[in-house]
Structure formats: C-alpha cells, structure tokens
Assembly symmetry: C2
Homo-oligomer: 216 residues x 2
Amino acid sequence: MPHAPTPPTAPHAPTAPTAKGRATRARIVEGAAEVLREQGVALTTLDDIRGRTGTSKSQLFHYFPDGKDELLLAVAQFEADRVLEDQQPHLGRLDSWESWQRWRDVVVERYERQGDHCPLGSLFLQVGRSRPGARAIVTELVRQWQQQLAHGMRALQAKGLVSPALDVDRTAAALLAGIQGGVAIMMSTGDSAHLRAALDTGIEHLRATADGPVRT
Amino acid sequence: MPHAPTPPTAPHAPTAPTAKGRATRARIVEGAAEVLREQGVALTTLDDIRGRTGTSKSQLFHYFPDGKDELLLAVAQFEADRVLEDQQPHLGRLDSWESWQRWRDVVVERYERQGDHCPLGSLFLQVGRSRPGARAIVTELVRQWQQQLAHGMRALQAKGLVSPALDVDRTAAALLAGIQGGVAIMMSTGDSAHLRAALDTGIEHLRATADGPVRT
C-alpha cells in the first residue's frame, strides 16, 4: 500500500489542536455555558468561568486569545448546536405525520421549559448581534434548521403525502419564521399560543396540499 | 332636556390633563422618538431630548415624574402604534386578495427599509422586556395586529373566498408569528427571504382553503 503523500507544512503554521486540546476547549465551553445559563451573561466574569471549569488564566488565554468575546462566541456556537440537538432524533426523520407531530411536541415543550430566558439571545445581546461572528452562527443555524425541515417535507412528497408542486424551501423558511416569531412573542407575553399556532398551521398547510392543487 | 348628572369628584383626584397638556406631552414623546431613532437608546440623554423638544427640566418632570424609563415606555407605546399605522389603510381592509397582496408588499417594504434597527426592540432592551409596562405594550400590539388580520380573514370568509371551517384566530396568530420571526431572522442575517416566505405561504394557505376541506 503506498504511503499517503506528506502534506506540505508552512514553516510557522500554527500547531493543529490535539485531541486532548480539543477536549479541554470543549470542556471549558460547556462549563462556561452552564455558568452563563445560571447567572446570566451580564453578571458572569471570566473568574466565575475559570472557577467552574478549573482552568488557569494562561489556559483560558491559550484557548481564547482574544478574550471574553471569543469565549462568548464559542458558547453561542455551542448553544446553537444545542437548539438542533434538542429537536433530535425527530427533526432528522420527519417522514410521517406521526413524526411531524412528535417533533412539534418537542419544540413546544423545549421552548415552554426555556420560558423567557434565551441563552443564545442573551449572548448575542452581549457580543452584538450584527458582529460577523454572531451573524455567521445565526445564519448557519437558520440554514441547517431549515434544511432539515425541507428534507422532511421532501420525504412526505416522496411518500405522496404532500403535493409534489409544493415549494418546499419557501414553506420550510415560513415554518421556521413562525417558530422564531412564536418564541419571540412567548418571551414577551409569557404565552406559547403563537408558537403552537405557527406549528399547527404549518403542518395543516402541508396536509392540505395533498387535497388539491397548490396555487402559487 | 335634563342636565347630565354631575359625576362625583374625589377630594384629591389628580387634575385631568387638558387638551394643551396632552398636546405638549405628545410633542415631547414624538421628539424623543426622533432623537432615539437617530442616536440609539444607549447614547441618548434626557438633555438631548430636552434640547430637541425645547422642554425645561421641570416640564419634563411634570409629564414624566418617574424619569427616563417612564419617558422610554411612552416612546415605546408611540412606536408600537406606528407599527400598525404604517400598515394602514391596507391592514384595516383586508377584504380581497388584492388588498392582502398590497398589505403584504407594505409590510415587506417597511421592514426592509427599517433594516437591522428596530426602535421598539431597542427600547425594550433598555427598559427590560419583562417589565409589566413593556409587556403590556407588546401584548396589546400583538392583540390588535392579530385582531385586524383575523378581521380580514373573516371578510374573506364572508365573501366565500376562504373556507368557513378555517380556524381564523389560530391562522391569524400563526401569520403574525411568521412576520415576527421573519423580521427577527432578517435583523440577524440581513435577508428578508423568511419574512417574504412567511407572508406568501400564509396567504397561499388562506387561498388553498377555498379548494378543499380544511383538516384540523
């Protein structure tokens, strides 16, 4: 078996993180996320995070040389991943009406439990929603979430449960907008009725396409 | 013609504001809203607002005895009213597909023009979204907006353009959630595609109900 070619190495290329380094960084981010959820972003210091994660100042600097904002963005990425993980395995297999209903229940339950505290929202308030790092995290979260919803709608189409004429990408975008708005209204009013309405109306819209032609 | 009975007056009831007093207060609120939109909430002082509106300290205290937060809540109410006004006359007469389409265009245009600056959102950040005063303003805005959407859906039902079986209140709640979420996503990503998708899918859903039975 031939040897794999040795990749060229730039003389001063940064050292690739080792598995151990990646694990330590992940542990710090996870611990920081815990403290931030408990105390809120405004009241949490780097010392609180060092205390919780058993990390020295130089270790923290090694993993987050740009300081607190870099760490907060890493936590925001962690929380964004969690938004999707919390919806699994349902979000990843939306291929029957039963699975859509289960997913709907998980989403309502997750956000009702979260109440008026949105970890991701608080982090973006702190680091600035329009900073490129923050914007990239939201854009990617929206893209992945919408893609999984669209994937589920295509699975329903493949089974003949939804009209083949449905504009899947637009319908997935609309459903995601409804979820976001439902959560935002719930955080302001304390009532999840809009979130439920967005999910139920969105699923009903999908079901209705099977009955007749979709006008566009 | 009999005289109207004189209403009983409590000995120390606060003086009802005169028409002139109401006009002065409205002028201060409108001027404050202008300054806050230009400079942002965080950078605006009461002196900036006094300067713009030609108001003395004692006048400001007379109309807003509880200080800056009371003034900011009054501006939030003014901005909330404006959200609905900006959608008129279309939002108030959604009785044909043409009027729904015109309203949809006005909403997209309004929020695209607004970009990533939401006056109401910034005010609530400053005074605290969960404060009773702030919560009451959002709850009332949501209620009125949704009521006008539902009124429009009922007008379509009355003309036989939409199925009488449609759950109007839930559908109006879902559409409003989609608008809110579409605006929120646009403010984070700079792209109005989700707002457009929510509006277009919502209207398409209404149109589709005329073609067949609505399953619930």
